[in-house]
Symmetry: C2
Subunit: 472 residues, 2 copies
């Protein structure tokens, strides 16, 4: 971590979601927020029970023992040029998000010494044949470590990639292929764990009570991040700090509960079915993508916890400042009143990029000369906030003192806890994903997996009944 | 272009947006589509007038003379290791989209000969000081060509970048800096054109009647794309082919008008304020991002063409198959009925990635052994389409025979024309962006530009009146 300052706390500025800023049709009253207090207390107890009974594990991930991970990462640093994560969804998004936030944006183009000797990190989170083929053809398999990540050990995308990589390594390196693979999966169950035993592969564990989208602070994220030179202890310290700050049930004092409550009221009481997360920092764009999974998969549910059809879920949208001022902001400012925007604001960038005192004779540029990109991006953010606010569009801001591991650890835990709490507000189970299983079964059936012939016939029958309409 | 087959046409399969597939609450009737015919004829005439009178130029960009661009690109190929675009929004998104779709996904990591000698392409479309600093520190300025793109010549982000680059080059290379810069701007007006004349810089033109978000087939996109080895003639041939296929006003025969009409009816008649564009191809993700600008900035409008307050605009959302099945699809299948999804489907990938016949003894993997990533990604897409359809979520598909320039040229023109036509359906001006100007003025005022002191005082006064609410 660049600046080892464990005093930096994230704060939330929610001035612009209140009626006093955006009017009562779209803004919140203090009384509306406080009206959630009784429910917040009940949800707080429910979550505390899940934590205490070890039913939900992400609450405690900052207690992960990082020593074996760091030891392994030190070996990887010595031996490899490249590390490739084979994983998708929760096995990929957190790693990408934190790596992008902390490391050099062109890290993989730098010579190894400029990465402090750490290998290049690639995350193969799709099965696009062109893209995956290009990745495998670009890297030297002898100098590459593959980290296969699947909690269940059956994820079709990841296992297909693994089968291809296994076969390639086996053909090129014979028995030595085993040294090129490290597995992250359940401690006891599943096919990948079987393979670890069968082939004596290196491995790490995903705790049974940690779901994919909440797993970045388990070995799922910590191993590749440590291998990429990220200070994982500082990440966990940040997470612990946010856990400490969110220990009480008072919405007005608990930043995670406040975050949830604002978005819940915006959705339910103010008809904002969309939440835009808009970092003013290219390096935080991955966090918005990671948040998309957390929010969508946790809260997009057909049934409530008591079995009623509810069809809940606010749609998370990622946008990037300042770039999307030239793309999305026109719609956000002038379009329908159907969004609430969360800004991620970096208060101090690592680099000061001054704009030199040139072209001072040109009135179109004189106001920029002598300023800096740091000032400009800040003013542009304030401009977007001002435009939204004066057009009655609620928006608020998570302020990050710096982009470092300690601050990111706080942010990650804040958003995870908010998501769990929102599950309580919507009265749905934030930890399952029944709609995803449906698609998996379809793939099994159509790929001819044993035992799925009946489902295949049923699907084909249903598809036949839809009249085809195709242009020309 | 890999496979030079000028017979491949894009088709649209819209079976799953119809009532017969998703029910009448969410699906369309043939009669609803046909009910738009009279309006379609009127809009068609309006657009034909704009084209004929040269008020709107994107219709004719496939007639761009590519010879000077190709000649210039050939020189660049000989002389440079890197090309950096300094541009934002419409000056960046189209280039990124087409380059990603056509070129190797790790192109910048390859040795030059594996890129057929073309330079590496970087697009600097943000002013994040860390990211921009890292880019400048990574590239050798002697081996780098900077393409500064701004139609107006005043875009704050791009001009700040240019001032920094100019100063750096000037200090390192003295007078030779002029050879490291090529400008793309208006033919006559604006500060960048003045600088071209003053310093005798190389330059290309943006036609005055082509707006930023419609400009990828002008020199704005064609120059950097040609420098990155893209076959720009094939792109324009594809665009011309789509223009030919969309020459008539019959919605049922004109793929662009059909695309617009489906989304318009989904929004207005079936209450779907969001359109998800979901390519099943990592390389097409940039197209979804480019489309986001086109759709949001063109259709997100406060006022109708006759001056009424309308607050229109369907929110475009990008998603990526198969990756987002592990992130967004849960919400799309089980959440609120508030979306229509457009799939981008690649019928034939360049690479065949077979899954080897390994682990056939494991029932969890046997169904994959001997198959391919190509089959798997296709089946997963069908699975998502099936899940959406059986859960009454309208969706349709643009089928691309292959990922090559000719097909991409068609796709780009299809989406541009659809956007213009949608402007007609919503009765707003799809070619302006008044909400963006608001933010620009804010930035000018707060950065202290001459003549904006009054506005600055006004802004500060308004901001003072919003009570601040900040956690801890």
């Amino acid at each position: 971590m660049g600046d080892r300052n464990y005093k930096q706390d994230i704060v939330i500025d929610y001035s612009n979601v209140m009626s006093s800023a955006v009017g009562s049709d779209h803004g919140l009253l203090q009384s509306e927020l406080e009206g959630l207090h009784p429910r917040a207390s009940a949800i707080h107890k429910w979550l505390a029970g899940l934590k205490k009974d070890k039913k939900v594990g992400f609450f405690d991930l900052h207690e992960t023992d990082t020593r074996p991970i760091k030891k392994y990462a030190a070996k990887v640093r010595e031996r490899y040029e490249n590390m490739v994560v084979l994983g998708i969804g929760g096995s990929a998004l957190g790693t990408i998000a934190v790596n992008n936030a902390v490391n050099h944006s062109l890290s993989n183009l730098l010579p190894k010494r400029k990465r402090n000797g750490y290998p290049r990190l690639f995350v193969a989170d799709n099965i696009d044949p062109d893209q995956f083929g290009e990745l495998l053809h670009t890297l030297d398999p002898k100098k590459t470590l593959f980290n296969v990540i699947s909690k269940s050990g059956t994820t079709a995308e990841t296992m297909s990639q693994f089968m291809i990589v296994y076969d390639m390594l086996n053909k090129k390196l014979k028995g030595k292929w085993k040294k090129k693979v490290v597995i992250t999966t359940d401690a006891k169950k599943g096919l990948l764990r079987e393979m670890v035993k069968e082939h004596k592969l290196d491995s790490f564990e995903v705790p049974a009570n940690v779901g994919g989208r909440f797993s970045v602070f388990s070995a799922v994220g910590l191993l590749p991040l440590a291998c990429a030179g990220v200070d994982i202890d500082a990440l966990l310290k940040g997470s612990a700090r946010m856990a400490e700050r969110t220990a009480a049930d008072d919405i007005m004092k608990n930043p995670a509960y406040l975050f949830s409550s604002i978005l819940y009221l915006a959705d339910i009481a103010k008809r904002k079915p969309m939440v835009v997360m808009m970092p003013y920092s290219s390096k935080l764009y991955g966090i918005a993508d990671w948040f998309r999974q957390l929010w969508a998969e946790s809260l997009g549910k057909r049934y409530s916890r008591d079995g009623k059809e509810v069809y809940t879920g606010q749609t998370p949208i990622k946008a990037l400042g300042a770039t999307d001022q030239h793309s999305q902001v026109q719609l956000y400012v002038e379009g329908p009143f159907d969004k609430v925007t969360v800004f991620l604001e970096v208060e101090k960038f690592k680099t000061a990029m001054g704009i030199p005192e040139v072209y001072k004779d040109k009135p179109e540029l004189a106001y920029l000369a002598g300023s800096s990109l740091n000032d400009l991006i800040r003013v542009e953010m304030l401009g977007t906030q001002y435009a939204l606010t004066t057009h009655n569009r609620p928006n608020f801001s998570i302020k990050l003192p710096e982009l470092n591991e300690y601050v990111l650890g706080q942010l990650v835990y804040l958003l995870e806890l908010s998501t769990a709490f929102s599950g309580g507000l919507y009265n749905i189970d934030p930890f399952d994903q029944p709609g995803v299983e449906f698609g998996k079964d379809f793939a099994y059936a159509m790929m001819g997996r044993e035992g799925y012939a009946g489902l295949k016939a049923e699907i084909q029958d249903k598809m036949k009944n839809i009249p085809r309409r195709i242009t020309q």
